[in-house]
Amino acid sequence: MTLRLKIILLLALVLVLILLTLRVRKRQLDLRYTLSWYFLGAVLMVLVIFPKLLTHAARFIGISDSMNMLFFCGFVFSLVIIYTLTGAVSKQADQIRDLTQRMGLLAEELREEKEKNGEKNGAEE
């Protein structure tokens, strides 16, 4: 890895992490779902600063080119993030369904109640 590439990658990573933090600060992103991105950024940063680690890791699992190891890591991380999102979406779909049904049931109850009261008032008049 050339020094130039190292600096460019580091700057890009720092920029991404800053943007991420700004969005969390504005509460546009939930920190809970942002943690995995921070983790990804941290790991990538360590690998960019110490590319030797990458070479060793690549050799260890039998990848000859260390750059491929980097891609492989990025890919695996992306899958983990997408997987956690699938879980989050499923949970939210359940919650939305529950809320929608409750709202429908409540609105019906309210309407019935009103109708009943209307009848009572009508009888009194």
Binding site: A93, I96, R97, T100, Q101, M103, G104, L105, A107, E108
Partner: protein, 232 residues
């Protein structure tokens, strides 16, 4: 026996009023509730204008979520049985009393109105019948029970089914999966012969484009329902 008729409706402006009117005429004494699943047409206005009893869902949930709303209503209002009748006029309310009688006398947990016992009336297209037969075989293989019409939307369930489905009900294409879930929990499922008509309006939720997805999704759902622990 206190019975609630649940009528899920999504964009059923052409048939919803006649479906409910027919129900009132042919099955008087039954309570009913239309679940308007956030229809894009004027189904809600029609229901209000005709003074019908309905629940308006603020967000479209699909057939599973809509029917489940009805079951939750049935549970909250202490009904003995709930029956799903589609809003498109396919289901004849005349069969409801036979279904209720079967449910009560046979102590069943679910009574399905099946088109394929006497093979009368609208029999669906050939491709669909093949698909339905496949599910019948799959369910027999997994549970040992023969359900001739596992995709039938005309189903009556008792208290056990209401409690179960109010808590957990499949989101889309719920019929075969929920039958398996009830069977797995030791429920008794019976079928009675019914005659169905061709839908009077609207479009089926299963079009050809979706049929491959439907077959795969429901097959997986049935298989997963079979490896779920009881009561989960």
């Amino acid at each position: 026996m206190k019975i609630l008729v649940v009528i899920p409706a999504y964009n059923e402006r052409e048939s919803i009023v006649s479906t409910v009117e027919r129900l009132k005429k042919e099955a008087p004494g039954l309570d009913y509730v239309v679940i308007n699943d956030c229809s894009k047409d004027d189904t809600a206005q029609l229901l209000t204008a005709h003074g019908m009893h309905f629940i308006d869902l603020p967000v479209n949930l699909g057939i599973g979520g809509a029917v489940q709303t009805g079951y939750r209503y049935a549970l909250a209002h202490d009904y003995d049985a709930a029956v799903q009748v589609d809003g498109d006029g396919q289901h004849d309310p005349a069969f409801l009393s036979v279904m209720a009688k079967t449910l009560e006398e046979e102590r069943a947990d679910m009574v399905i109105g099946s088109r394929f016992i006497r093979h009368e009336g609208f029999q669906s297209s050939f491709a669909r019948r093949v698909g339905i037969l496949y599910f019948t075989r799959l369910i027999r293989l997994l549970t040992g029970k023969t359900i001739t019409d596992p995709t039938s939307g005309l189903r009556m369930i008792g208290r056990k089914g209401i409690a179960m489905f109010a808590k957990e009900y499949p989101r889309d294409y719920p019929e075969p999966e929920s039958v398996v879930e009830l069977l797995r929990s030791g429920g008794k499922v019976l079928e009675i012969p019914v005659v169905m008509r061709e839908r009077q309006g609207g479009t089926s939720s299963i079009r050809f484009r979706n049929s491959v997805y439907y077959m795969i999704k429901v097959t997986l759902a049935i298989l997963i329902a079979c490896i779920r622990k009881k009561g989960e």
